[in-house]
Amino acid sequence: MSNWLEKHLPKIVLGPSFLAIILFVYGFIAWTAWISFTRSRLMPKYDIDGFIQYQRLFDSPRWEVAIDNLFIFGFLFILISMILGLVIAIFLDQKIRIEGALRTIYLYPMALSLIVTGTAWKWILNPGLGLESVIKGWGFKDFTFDWVINPDFAIYTVVIAGVWQASGFVMALFLAGLRSVDQEIVKAAQVDGVPTFRIYTAIIIPSMAPIFLSAFIVLAHLAIKSFDLVIALTGGGPGYATDLPATYMYTMAFSRGDIGQAASSAIIMMIVVFAVVVPYLYSELRNKNDQ
């Protein structure tokens, strides 16, 4: 009896959560995929009707804007957060005084919810209330900074707020990475008279490749599922200039009674996430098998 229990205990303990995940994650992914092939409107219908929802989706100018925004936002957000995070981490790594305090200051935005970040930046960027009016008040009458109300530039304000929020977190990741580099190699290079800049570009940064990958994965999924930041900062506006796939899906499902559209956009979002995550998982699993 006790032998049997010992043998099966892990399965028994893991069973309920495994079943719950199968049903509530993968089950509902399958349900959403099914709905995306139907003509569901207000309520779900289950008669398969081909790719009609996907045709409608890719004919919709609003979805086009949402997808373009995802790539602009995702690319800039990940790139700038990584560069900024790395630069701050390297500066903090110079054995400076009050490093602990500085690290906390840079990391602090991560403690805020994205709703708070979005609302604060909405006010900062509002031309009549924030930055523009302050600088005009200092006497620079021609200064304009109205990106948040300009449909061509509004998406970049989302990038600004997102970078402000995430770069501190990336810095913490990189700082941990910098500290884990073998100091013996660095010292050997210093003895050989290699300049500091070369030590970073040729030794330290290349040895941090796994950290880059982790940072990329974390930032990429943050970018793809980004929703609250846009809602708080611009509400998707001006017009729908800052719509992202997640806000598009929400509008279709909950405001417009168009569940089929919402399901098909959700499936496309999932495919984009898979495109990022699957290669990562694949390389991780392959490495393990090799060892």
């Binding site: 919709s60 506006g237 001006p238 909950f254 405001s255 009674g257």
Partner: protein, 415 residues
């Protein structure tokens, strides 16, 4: 909180007193009237319902302008346990009827003679294939233009009668440093202005063809190009910080003289009145230039319920909603006008009188039209497609011709 406690207390006393056999009529009501004036208005109905021996279960779901309530409703209907009455309006009543979820309350309507006291086009929304399935609560007018009286007077302007006059007035005011049009850059507000302009420039027939029938000829017509041209002109009359501004903040700009006009439904009147402003003296109300009347009618749709106590409650509720007393008290609180045309209006203000007179006149003249921007004329996906185009045009440099092409394509795609 206080409300909840009173309701709970009322409900318990009622169930205690009548729990011997038949539990008495009862009704569960799903709505999203939770803010100050609105909550007060619902409390009126609750009180009247319990005075008539009913027990009311309140189910307020706030958030997202009814989005959250609709999500709750979907879950309730899917689980086969729908509330008796749900705050629904316009074509979404028909959508729920097509899902087979609505009850037939024709006997109540016949007994209380609804068809002769309600304007025909509003009654049309309350019927599902000829049978009554919903009860109207109020009529909001959308095509209002509100103005600061002293700003207009001190600059020697009156309320504009045509759009050209509006443009001229606006330009003159702008030159004097006054913001001509207080507006909030949210999609639904853009749509509100757009439909007032469309009605004014195109007239009632054009509006009906374009936004009720979605007739391609009307949608592609030169009139539609002119409507978008006027929207482009209006874009020049709003201030720089309009993006994302809430409608009540725009109303406040008119109130304190920062801006001259606002185009908004008559809930804006509630803001003026709440600030102690007097219609005709501090602020002016008029219909937007052009003929016609765009209505937004709030109503309660009656869902299929089981059990005679629930069905009786539903019928009692329907009778009270269209009753004279509730129609008067509710609308005094909410700023709208009664849906029935035979309610005495002597307690209502000047703007409500204008609204009621215009509603009766346009009902006779056939220019009483459903608002598209507020979900009365079209289903969600199609109204949304139009709004997408309107807001994209208003917030960019898109030409009117491109906007018309985009509009036609978006509507095709939403079907």
């Amino acid at each position: 909180m206080f409300n909840k406690i009173t309701v709970a207390a009322l409900a318990t006393t009622l169930t205690l007193s009548t729990s011997i056999s038949y539990a008495g009529p009862k009704a569960e009501v799903l709505h999203w009237w939770t803010s100050g004036g609105e909550a007060k208005s619902v409390a009126v109905l609750q009180k009247e319902f319990s005075e008539n021996g009913g027990s009311w279960t309140d189910m307020p779901v706030a958030g997202g302008g009814g989005d959250a309530a609709m999500t709750a409703l979907r879950a309730r209907v899917l689980s086969g346990n729908a509330p008796a009455a749900v705050q629904l309006k316009g074509p979404s009543i028909q959508e729920w009827y097509e899902e087979g979820a609505l009850a037939d309350i024709s006997d109540v309507a016949k007994k209380n003679n609804w068809s002769s006291v309600l304007p025909a086009s509003i009654a049309g929304h309350m019927k599902c294939e000829g049978k009554w399935c919903a009860a109207p609560v109020n009529v909001h007018r959308i095509d209002w233009i509100w103005a600061n009286a002293s700003v207009l007077k001190s600059n020697g302007f009156g309320m504009p009668k045509t759009w050209d006059e509006f443009n001229a007035t606006a330009k003159a005011l702008q030159a004097k440093g006054i913001i001509p049009l207080a507006h909030g850059g949210q999609a639904w507000q853009d749509a509100t202005v757009f439909e007032a302009v469309a009605l004014g420039i195109g007239g009632a027939n054009f509006f009906h063809d374009a936004f009720v029938k979605l007739d391609k000829k009307a949608l592609q017509s030169n009139t539609m190009v002119k409507v978008f041209d006027q929207m482009r002109t209006m874009r020049g009359f709003v201030d720089k910080n309009f993006s994302g501004r809430d409608w009540n903040l725009a109303t406040a700009m008119v109130m304190n003289g920062e801006a001259a006009f606002q185009i908004m439904g008559d809930w804006a009147k509630g803001e003026f009145l709440a600030a102690g402003k007097v219609p005709g003296k501090d602020f002016l109300c008029a219909s937007t230039p052009g003929e016609g009347f765009l209505y937004n009618v709030d109503s309660f749709a009656m869902f299929k319920v089981k059990g005679s106590d629930r069905q009786d409650g539903q019928k009692l509720l329907a009778k009270l909603i269209v009753g004279k007393n509730f129609q008067k008290v509710f609308n005094l609180n909410k700023g709208s006008i009664p849906a029935r045309t035979d309610v005495a209006l002597n307690e209502f203000d000047q703007c409500a009188h204008v609204s009621a007179a215009d509603m009766n006149a346009s009902s006779v003249g056939g220019t009483l039209l459903p608002s598209y921007a507020h979900g009365m004329a079209l289903r969600g996906a199609q109204a949304g497609a139009i709004t997408d185009t309107v807001t994209a045009h208003f917030n960019s440099n898109m030409s009117s011709k491109d906007a018309v092409a985009m509009l036609v394509k978006a509507i095709d795609n939403s079907k």
